[in-house]
């Protein structure tokens, strides 16, 4: 039996990918070696990383949540609308209400998927479409008004001893998620359900509760990212979550989590979010069209997935 590495090899593969991007970028494009650039990347990666953490909980179950782009936008709209209110007690409610919205959508997703056994992909697509409709109808064709509360701006844009607060937030969320996955009954059930839900039921556990909780947490984290992004841009805007859909799922899957559920590690998701952010950043620095960027992104993601698949088959 080969010696077990302390870290999953696919995590090392991704980190190597990160180093290559920074090295190639630094040599051919410039500015990549500066600490300002790298810190900025950590800041941007945080939003993707927290989304990916939530998405991973659901994917471990063998489900998927495609409703987060507009859940996130909804929370952002709530926070900026209420945060821009004139009375201060209303302003204080902005963040809790934004989080509650994300949690509520997640709960609805969880209950429907767990109780009605509807395929989560179709259900969450429908929810995403409904949220989009509500947001656009409510806002008309205008940009959402208002502004983000100070606390949110500090979290999203500020930094402590030179380290972006957003990154510190991501680390804190990561610690919590890692504990949930590794250290709790909930975490063990996530993997167990992803592997064989029927067996979990026969063993006397109740898969429904775990499923509802996982979706609820994913919704909560999506709402949280919506709030952070509202602070980052000091505004909410239609479609602000759309660019995150594919990168988030890519980050989780590249990180070695099986889309069928039951297999995955959080370190991979963390590294995956870093990798995807660096890749998108490098692609946006070089002057190419959006279409070319999309093609390169697709090809590289596909290559990573095939490589990882081949490695697993050999092992």
């Amino acid at each position: 039996m080969p010696k077990r590495l302390p870290v999953d090899p696919s995590v090392l593969l991704i980190l190597a990918g990160c180093v290559i991007i920074v090295a190639v970028g630094g040599i051919f494009i410039g500015n990549f070696f500066t600490s300002a650039y790298l810190l900025q990347q950590l800041q941007i990666a945080s939003f993707l990383g927290i989304l990916a953490a939530g998405a991973m909980l659901v994917i471990l179950l063998g489900h998927i949540d495609l409703s987060f782009p507009w859940t996130l936008t909804g929370s952002a709209i709530i926070v900026t609308t209420i945060g821009g209110a004139t009375s201060s007690w209303l302003q204080d409610l902005a963040i809790p209400l934004g989080l509650a919205f994300g949690l509520l959508i997640g709960l609805i997703n969880g209950v429907v998927v767990a109780k009605l056994r509807i395929p989560s992909m179709v259900w969450t697509l429908a929810v995403n479409s409904m949220l989009l409709g509500i947001a656009i109808y409510y806002q008309g064709e205008h940009r959402p008004q208002g502004q983000a509360p100070e606390l949110v701006k500090t979290l999203a844009v500020g930094s402590t001893f030179g380290v972006p607060n957003a990154f510190l937030t991501w680390v804190a969320v990561s610690a919590a998620v890692l504990w949930l996955i590794r250290g709790t009954r909930f975490g063990r059930l996530l993997f167990a359900i992803g592997n064989n839900e029927k067996a979990v039921f026969l063993a006397g556990a109740r898969p429904e509760r775990t499923i509802i909780l996982a979706f609820a947490l994913a919704g909560l984290l999506a709402g949280f990212v919506g709030i952070l992004l509202a602070g980052y841009a000091n505004q909410a805007y239609q479609g602000m979550g759309n660019p995150y859909l594919m990168p988030t799922i890519a980050a989780v899957v590249i990180g070695g989590t099986s889309i069928l559920g039951g297999r995955g590690n959080y370190a991979g998701t963390f590294a995956g979010a870093l990798f995807v952010t660096l890749l998108l950043s490098a692609l946006s620095v070089i002057q190419i069209s959006e279409a070319t960027r999309q093609i390169i992104f697709g090809v590289l993601i596909l290559a990573m997935l095939i490589l990882d698949g081949l490695r697993r088959r050999d092992a």
Binding site: I64, V112, K115, L116, R117, I118, P119, M121, V122, W123, L125, A126, V127, N128, S129, M130, L131, L132, G133, I134, I136, Y137, G140, E141, E197, K198, F201, L202, P207, M246, I249, A250, V253, S258, I259, L260, S289, E290, A291, T292, R293, Q294, I295, F297, G298, V299, I301, L302, L305, I306, G309, L310, R313
Partner: protein
């Protein structure tokens, strides 16, 4: 309840829903029942029906194709460069467009079968690539499509919409081979249980590759029909077709778990979906809220289909 009964009941439910919705649509339409109204309805419905058939082939082998919209966009753009001129040029153009669709689908199949990437992520990535190529090839809508052929295929024959006739021919042409030929049955068997299919000696890889290629072919057919209706190429039509093709398949009652279902169900699902959106248009629902109602319809429709899960007497059956 046996599987056969449930399937018959499902078919009945879907047909009744379509008839009721269609009647409501005709009654609310300002121009009432006329060849013109029915032809427009049929054209819109057939576009989605063809896309739903594309999605159907991948779904029965227990896959999903999130790139189908991008394949449609890419082949639609290709059509806008190729399908006009002399009859020979048009014929050549159509063949090239269909071949391009098959190639896209085949590549998806290769990634899934030999790259061992799960269909949902594989097609998400290839979809980004196909969509990107479509956008590079024709950044803004435009181009030219032979309008004689377009008229021929989108008007009516003695009061019957041509597109409906085409759809019926296509349905017959695929439904019978699916149940009667070795490759058709192989696809159903692979979707039902890949392991059992493999142990029976079925060529699992071939069946999957054929299913994905057929999805590409029908994606290209959808794109051609879109081209005949709009007479242009548009790189941005993709996302709506991806979502709606899946919705149509689910609405028709084809389970995403593969192995069962008939193309007819997917087509009926597509027609229902299109009738609902036409209905919303004429009942004066604010256009801005349209996405909400589209999502709601999808949610309610799959919710109704899932009531069985709540009623199921044996809790264990739910987890199968």
């Amino acid at each position: 309840m046996t599987g056969m009964d449930r399937r018959r009941r499902r078919l009945l439910l879907v047909v009744v829903a379509l008839v009721v919705l269609f009647a409501a649509f005709i009654l609310t339409h300002p121009r009432g029942f006329s060849v013109y109204v029915v032809t427009i309805w049929a054209n819109q419905g057939v576009l989605l029906a063809l896309a739903a058939i594309a999605q159907f082939f991948v779904v029965i082998v227990r896959g999903i194709d999130l790139s189908i919209g991008s394949i449609i966009a890419l082949t639609n753009v290709a059509a806008s460069y190729l399908v006009f001129g002399t009859p020979g040029e048009i014929a050549f153009g159509i063949v090239v467009v269909l071949a391009l669709g098959v190639l896209c689908g085949f590549l998806n199949g290769l990634v899934v079968v030999f790259g061992r990437v799960e269909p949902i992520v594989a097609t998400l990535a290839t979809g980004a690539i196909y969509g990107g190529i479509a956008l590079l090839w024709r950044p803004i809508p435009g181009g030219e499509i032979d309008d004689t052929l377009g008229d021929l295929l989108t008007y009516d024959v003695n009061g019957v919409p041509t597109s409906l006739i085409v759809l019926v021919v296509v349905l017959v042409a695929i439904s019978i081979p699916l149940r009667r030929t070795r490759i058709g049955l192989s696809m159903l068997a692979v979707g039902s249980s890949e392991q059992s299919a493999f142990l029976t000696g079925i060529q699992v890889r071939v069946a999957k590759l054929v299913a994905y290629s057929l999805a590409g072919l029908f994606g290209a057919l959808t794109a051609l029909y879109i081209a005949f209706v709009t007479l242009t190429g548009d790189p941005a039509i993709g996302p709506a077709y991806t979502l709606n093709s899946i919705a149509a398949v689910v609405l028709g009652g084809v389970p995403l778990t593969g192995g069962v279902g008939a193309p007819l169900l997917a087509v009926l699902g597509a027609l229902i979906l299109k009738t609902i959106s036409s209905l919303m248009f004429f009942t004066g629902i604010p256009p801005l809220a349209q996405s909400f109602f589209e999502g709601l319809v999808l949610a309610v429709a799959i919710g109704i289909g899932a009531i069985d899960a709540l009623r199921s007497r044996s809790k264990l059956k739910v987890y199968e």
